[in-house]
């Protein structure tokens, strides 16, 4: 999507793909958006969506092995729309459409709900997922703050 104006603020943050950083990413995004005075609900929605994307990178992209990096980037535009991108260089998704189906999970432990993408879609205006097996995955979330 071509934007008429450049972003007024950008964020670029690389973190280890370890689960303790799920909370760190939520706090980073919260701090980044704070200056825009999002509503309590908007902030909660965005933090939850980011948490899902980061968790996917750790659990699926890097298979919980703890080796790898997550790149969290974000831009705020003058019209108060926000784009947040979570990238990993993990195993990639062979069938993105299948992965995005609610309740679909490749997990066998019985502890993953398969709701990650459904939650991301529910809490953002738009979601794009691109992935290449063996190369990695990029999830971009868009939300226009009121």
């Amino acid at each position: 999507m071509k934007r008429k104006y450049p972003p007024k603020n950008t964020l670029r943050c690389a973190l280890s793909a370890i689960s303790v950083n799920e909370s760190v990413c939520r706090q980073i995004i919260g701090a980044f958006l704070a200056a825009e005075n999002p509503t309590v609900e908007e902030l909660a929605d965005v933090k939850c969506a980011v948490s899902e994307a980061v968790t996917n990178a750790i659990v699926h992209g890097y298979k919980n092995e703890g080796n790898g990096e997550i790149l969290l980037t974000a831009e705020i535009y003058p019209d108060r729309s926000v784009r947040i991108t979570v990238r990993d260089k993990g195993c990639g998704i062979a069938d993105v459409a299948l992965a995005r189906r609610p309740l679909y999970t490749t997990d066998t432990s019985g502890e993953r709900s398969g709701m990650g993408f459904a939650v991301m879609e529910s809490f953002t205006d738009r979601l794009t997922v691109s992935s290449r097996v063996g190369l990695g995955t990029r999830i971009s979330m868009y939300k226009r703050l009121k």
């Binding site: 689960s19 303790v20 799920e22 909370s23 939520r26 609900e41 909660a44 933090k47 939850c48 948490s51 899902e52 968790t55 750790i58 659990v59 309740l103 432990s109 019985g110 502890e111 993953r112 709900s113 398969g114 709701m115 990650g116 459904a118 939650v119 529910s122």
Partner: protein
């Protein structure tokens, strides 16, 4: 008992029911800690009911749904049930998104006593 930076868990037994009171955030990271501690107590005490007291939960993503579903399966395998109390409207909506609350042996935000009286 479990206390970390952003999650605290206290467990107590009351009339054959194991009550797990959680305060803080439930994500994939903390769900793992909660799961291990709760399951350890379940197999120790073999309760007929597991109550998740969640009024102190300030954040939960779909890992929390997984935690709930996993514990429900544990309790059902023991012939027991799971009760959730204190779920905020926002988190209740998240649970509704998953359809989990329609599963048998699970009650959400209603007391078991109320259910048996009707």
């Amino acid at each position: 008992m479990l206390t970390r930076e952003n999650i605290a868990l206290t467990l107590r037994l009351e009339d054959g029911a194991l009550i797990a009171e959680m305060r803080g955030e439930i994500d994939h990271h903390t769900a793992r800690l909660l799961r291990e501690e709760i399951d350890r107590r379940i197999y120790l005490e073999m309760p007929r009911l597991l109550t998740l007291e969640m009024s102190g939960i300030s954040f939960m993503d779909s890992s929390g749904i997984g935690l709930i579903v996993g514990r429900l399966e544990r309790m059902r395998s023991l012939g027991g049930a799971l009760e959730i109390r204190g779920l905020s409207p926002r988190l209740k909506a998240l649970l509704d998104l998953s359809g989990v609350e329609r599963l048998p042996s699970l009650t959400v935000n209603r007391s078991i006593a109320e259910d048996s009286a009707t």
